[in-house]
């Protein structure tokens, strides 16, 4: 009654218990890699399904460049800073003019981002290299960042952080030198 095929292709002697080593075993399914000690088999000797090629087949359809798409992508990059300005304006309005930790953080962020962007101008230009309107886009990007930093400066100004008043330089005024020596008092 008990046929080896009926048991799913696994032949085993019964009565040996789970712990006992099987005398011999035949594994038919290759995907089942539960055995220990045969890791190599699982990674190295993989048998791929039919039609699967290990080397990528070059895609001939991507080779043709969609100029419009590139242009669009480059304009996205160039207009990025300008698009942020309304958002910044909103944040500015919301944070108010009081000097506390939160508005200061906002202002720092607003000022730092355009500066960072301007510092990495060359990288951005490399990104825009493929575009035909590279120079225009670069200019727009620059203007956008400058506007962003101007906004930050304006915010600093409205918060009173810029030393634009004479009172900001008061501490640096040296006491005037005394030209005459004077003394005296009540007749002793």
């Amino acid at each position: 009654m008990a046929s080896p095929g009926g048991q799913g292709g696994v032949l085993s002697t019964r009565g040996g218990g789970a712990t006992r080593r099987m005398k011999w075993a035949l594994e038919l399914s290759l995907g089942n890699t539960r055995g220990r000690g045969d890791r190599q088999g699982a990674q190295g000797d993989v048998v791929y399904p039919i039609g699967y090629s290990e080397k990528p087949v070059p895609d001939t359809s991507i080779q043709e460049t969609d100029k419009n798409l590139v242009e669009k992508r480059c304009w996205d990059v160039a207009l990025g800073p300008l698009k942020q300005i309304p958002m910044n304006l909103f944040i500015m309005y919301m944070s108010g003019n009081t000097i506390s930790i939160f508005p200061i953080m906002m202002v720092c962020m607003m000022a730092w981002r355009p500066i960072q962007a301007l510092m990495s101008m060359s990288a951005t230009f490399k990104l825009l290299e493929s575009s035909s309107q590279q120079w225009l886009q670069g200019l727009v990007y620059l203007v956008g960042n400058l506007l962003g930093s101007a906004l930050a400066v304006y915010k600093c100004q409205s918060m009173g952080l810029l030393p634009t008043h004479s009172s900001d330089w008061l501490a640096f005024i040296e006491p005037p030198q005394r030209m005459e020596i004077m003394g005296g008092g009540m007749v002793l």
Binding site: H165, L170, I173, P175, P176, I181, G184, L188
Partner: protein, 960 residues
């Protein structure tokens, strides 16, 4: 149960009060010393065997008890200043002290154990003459007070008046002495000068005149000066022209018996009697002073006068009041201090009845060589003991208490109750620090030697550090009580933040003191002899301690106001020694002195002295200084204020050291008199040149270093017409910059002039209150010249703002705080007559305070104007340490910008630190060093451990 609740309540209450006064800070930065003043009357409290008190009545109108063991004040009663509180007489009976105060205005009795008032009665008006205790049958029950026209008798127990009687013929007879011998009669002795003595005897019981007579005495002018009652109602008078004694029996009152004296070459006659007990008769022995240092003890024996002993005390320590209070009980002893050699004194006790010296009573003690000569001696000898105690008062107002084998128990420097002027001088650096400083101070000489110098000084520093460590280690093993860091001359050195300084104090008695500001201990004292009683002093620091190896130098200008002649005392303020620099002789009267900001080659600032010919002499006057003076002369100006003539005048120095008057302002003395003139302090720094407005523009301050605030008061004191005037004058050009008059106001005016403001206080007669007024000067929104200030080139008139406020208390004195760089906000220190010192922020006295708060004024932190100034209790810098009669407050900057050192002097001396802007540059006292450092350490170790763990983990992962 109720008791328990009560106890709990008390506990809570007391805990609360303790928290309120910052108990842990009491006495940490501040100290107070209490004084009583120059002693006028002095009694040992001898009625109880165990009593340890000496009672003093002083010329500062103070009645006090001192502990004889320690010299501390047990209790003290400070009366009004001036003649109103003057103590005329002091009688001691048992544990009651009877005082006559204010020229016979009040009779008071004090309980001496705790210093409580028994009773006080106001006497009828009349000039006080004399007082005495009246005894009857061995007990003292009454006190008699003699006035010009009447005599009154009061009960000692409650002060009630027993009787008052008018004196007969009081318009012609000058009644001077009252005497009672304890037999039911009170004798009043009066004199018609150069004519006769009037003797009136009253009955103690009802004031009835028992006897009245007059005895011829054409040679007599004053009874207290030349007469004394001895034995049994026997009046003895001395006549210095005929060199004879006169005796008069008061009970018989027949005539005076003349007894010629067998003495030659005498010029002083002074009689001193000995009264052992007010209830009994005086002894039959008495003293006669024959010369400044010669006394004889005489005995009156049934009409005969016998000489018992001849004394020759070297120092004149006898005085008349002395002998009436001197002897104690029946052990009749007297004394004679004699100066044996330079500064050792001996005191001997003699038996007054026989004139013999008592055995084992010689007492030898050394006097302070920097003190004055002995002036007065008081002693206490108990019946059953051999030993005795002596209190010696010297001419420099010091009290020295001596126990028998010449041991000085304590010394009190009562001269400090009358400090006139003071300065605070930085302490010198330690030897090692000075070594380092000296390296840079000397002239440079080659690279190699500089390197060697540097190396050697570093070596010395290392050595000192190791020595310090060793000392720390050595001290750690000793018990804590023995390790006492007492300040002495040797270990005087500047501390880290220059908070400890030397206070140089000049007192009215002519004694100079050097006091350590940290502990209040007197480090040196120097008594200047022959100081006239009404001398004017001016103390100046010529060289600070910053110029090692030159010693610091202070100069005291002493001017005799009668003759106008002045002298200079040059000394080292740290050690009190006379400087080796010889001060110049000043043959001409000196009007003023002027300290110039430039120094001679020895780093001493140049002092200019202006004499009455308006010629100037310099001190030190080396060639270098004179050359410098010639160069600087066109920029040196000075002003003189003559209050008696109402004249302010400005002078310019010429190159030949003569002067030229350039301006003069006359204030007519019939209308107003100049009360005070205040310039700015020369060591004051102003950090900020302007004030920031609400719109962030700047209002620049008018910081004229030559500005003077002249305060005048009207001579007319009628409350409708009196006024107080203040004038701001430029001291160089004489230009009047501002003038303000406060109508219906009266002095005394207290002024503080600093930076660009003047604050003054006066009494408003119209509203009957004290008012403060503040004037501030501003240049405007632009500076005229930001680099140099010259009074000769100031075309623009400053803007003047003024505001007044009501102050709830009268004030005694006022001063502003002072800090190193002038960054810290200013406070006004106001001494109140109640003994408190209020630190009032200048912010409250700001003429820019608006009536209505606006956006801009809020931005500027201006408080809206309110006419009343409050005194908040937390503004009292001396919490409960009352300072009696504050006369002056001295402020000095410390090395910390936040801290200002304050000394208040008057009857007491108080020193503390104030922090007008809180201690922004110092960690707090209760700063948790342990917590912070343990957290830091824990974090450090946590980092180390976690780093290690992270490494292990990485390694493990790499292995996997």
């Amino acid at each position: 149960m109720a008791k328990l609740i009560l106890l709990l309540l008390k506990c809570i209450l007391f805990c609360g009060t303790v928290y309120a006064v910052f108990e842990d800070q009491v006495g940490k930065f501040d100290w107070r010393q209490q004084y009583v003043g120059k002693v006028r009357f002095c009694h040992f409290d001898g009625h109880m065997q165990s009593s340890k008190k000496v009672l003093l009545a002083t010329e500062s109108n103070v009645f006090a008890a001192l502990n004889t063991r320690t010299g501390e004040v047990l209790w003290r009663h400070v009366d009004k200043t001036g003649p109103e509180g003057n103590i005329d007489a002091f009688l001691q009976n048992g544990q009651d002290s009877v005082l006559v105060v204010g020229n016979g205005r009040v009779l008071r009795s004090w309980e001496t154990n705790i210093g409580g008032l028994n009773w006080e009665v106001v006497l009828d008006s009349g000039s006080f003459q004399s007082t005495c205790l009246v005894g009857q049958q061995g007990t003292v029950k009454n006190v008699a007070v003699l006035k010009k026209t009447a005599i009154s008798l009061h009960y000692l127990s409650n002060g009630h008046q027993k009787w008052i009687e008018n004196l007969p013929d009081s318009d012609t007879v000058d009644y001077q002495t009252v005497y009672s011998g304890g037999n039911g009669e009170v004798y009043v002795l009066g004199v018609v000068p150069h004519s006769h003595i009037a003797v009136v005897a009253f009955s103690v019981d009802d004031g009835e005149i028992l006897k009245q007579s007059s005895v011829e005495a054409p040679w007599l002018s004053s009874i207290p000066e030349s007469c004394q009652i001895v034995d049994q109602e026997m009046l003895i008078c001395v006549d210095s022209t005929t060199m004879s004694l006169y005796t008069l029996d008061l009970t018989l009152q027949l005539q005076m018996n003349q007894i010629p004296l067998q003495v030659k070459n005498v010029y002083i006659f002074l009689l001193c009697g000995i009264t052992p007990n007010p209830a009994k008769q005086p002894l039959s022995e008495f003293f006669l002073q024959l010369g400044p240092d010669r006394y004889v003890l005489l005995q009156f024996n049934s009409g005969q006068i016998v000489m018992l002993r001849d004394f020759k005390p070297v120092c004149n320590a006898f005085s008349k009041q002395h002998f009436s209070i001197l002897t104690f009980r029946l052990q009749n002893v007297c004394y004679s201090p004699r100066l044996q050699y330079f500064n050792a004194s001996t005191i001997n006790l003699y038996n007054a009845e026989t004139g013999r010296r008592l055995l084992d009573t010689t007492l030898i003690f050394t006097m302070d060589p920097n003190g004055g000569k002995p002036e007065r001696v008081t002693f206490l000898k108990k019946d059953d003991s051999v030993g005795y105690r002596v209190m010696v008062q010297t001419k420099d107002h010091a009290l020295t208490f001596i126990q028998q084998p010449g041991r000085v128990l304590w010394t009190r420097e009562e001269a400090l109750s009358d400090v006139l002027t003071m300065e605070m001088v930085d302490l010198p650096l330690t030897g090692t620090q000075a070594e380092l400083e000296g390296e840079f101070g000397k002239k440079t000489d080659g690279l190699m030697s500089m390197v060697f110098k540097r190396l050697s000084s570093q070596l010395i520093l290392l050595q000192a550090w190791i020595a310090h460590l060793w000392k720390l280690f050595y001290d750690a093993r000793k018990p804590r009580s023995q390790v006492k860091s007492d300040i002495s001359m040797e270990n005087l050195s500047r501390d880290e933040f220059n908070l400890q300084k030397m206070m140089v104090m000049v007192t009215a008695s002519g004694k100079l003191f050097g006091i350590d500001s940290k502990t209040g201990g007197i480090l040196w004292k120097h008594y200047l002899e022959n100081i006239p009683s009404n001398a004017g002093f001016k103390l100046m620091v010529q060289r600070t301690t910053a110029h090692f190896p030159h010693p610091p130098q202070c100069t005291l200008l002493i001017k005799d106001k009668d003759t106008g002649l002045a002298s200079l005392h040059v000394f080292n303020p740290i050690f009190g020694k006379m400087s080796h620099v010889t001060p110049p002789a000043l043959p001409q009267p000196i009007l003023q002195s002027l300290m110039l900001p430039f120094m001679d080659q020895d780093y001493a600032k140049v002092l200019l002295l202006i004499d009455d010919q308006y010629k100037v002499s310099a001190f030190p006057s080396t060639k270098y200084v004179l050359q410098q003076l010639q160069e600087m002369a066109p920029t040196i100006f000075f002003f003189l204020v003559d209050s008696s003539q109402g004249r302010l005048s400005g002078y310019r120095l010429r190159t030949d050291l003569s002067t030229e008057q350039i301006w003069e302002v006359i204030l007519p003395t019939e209308i107003q008199k100049i009360v005070s003139v205040k310039g700015k302090r020369p060591n004051e720094h102003v950090h900020s040149q302007g004030r920031v407005m609400g719109d962030r523009s700047v209002l620049y301050k008018y910081l004229n270093p030559n500005l003077l605030a002249v305060v005048t008061e009207s001579t007319d004191l009628h409350q409708e017409r009196s006024f107080v005037g203040i004038m701001l004058i430029d001291g160089v050009t004489g230009r009047i910059i501002h003038e303000a008059v406060q109508r219906k106001a009266r002095g005394p005016v207290h002024v503080v002039h600093s930076e660009n403001w003047v604050v003054y206080e006066y009494w408003s007669t119209k509203s009957r209150r004290n008012e403060f007024s503040v004037i501030e000067l501003y240049e405007g929104m632009e500076l005229y010249n930001s680099t140099a200030f010259s009074s000769l080139d100031r075309p623009l008139v400053p803007q003047v703002l003024q505001q007044s406020y009501i102050f709830p208390s009268s004030i005694s004195t006022m001063e502003a705080t002072l800090t190193e760089k002038g960054i810290t906000s200013r406070h006004l220190l106001i001494g109140l007559p109640s003994g408190g010192i209020v630190s009032l922020p200048k912010m409250f006295l700001d003429p820019r305070r608006p009536e209505m708060a606006s956006e801009q004024s809020r931005e500027e932190n201006l408080i809206p104007y309110a006419p009343e100034l409050m005194i908040r209790t937390e503004w009292f810098i001396n919490y409960n340490q009352t300072i009696s009669r504050v006369r002056g407050i001295y402020t000095a900057p410390s090395g910390l910008e936040s801290t200002c050192l304050v000394v208040a002097y008057g009857l007491d001396i108080y020193h503390t630190r104030v922090y007008p802007s809180k201690q922004f540059d110092v960690l707090k006292d209760d700063y948790d060093y342990m917590l912070i450092s343990s957290v830091l350490l824990a974090l450090f170790f946590a980092t180390m451990i976690s780093k290690r763990l992270a490494e292990v983990k990485l390694l493990n992962r790499a292995w996997r």
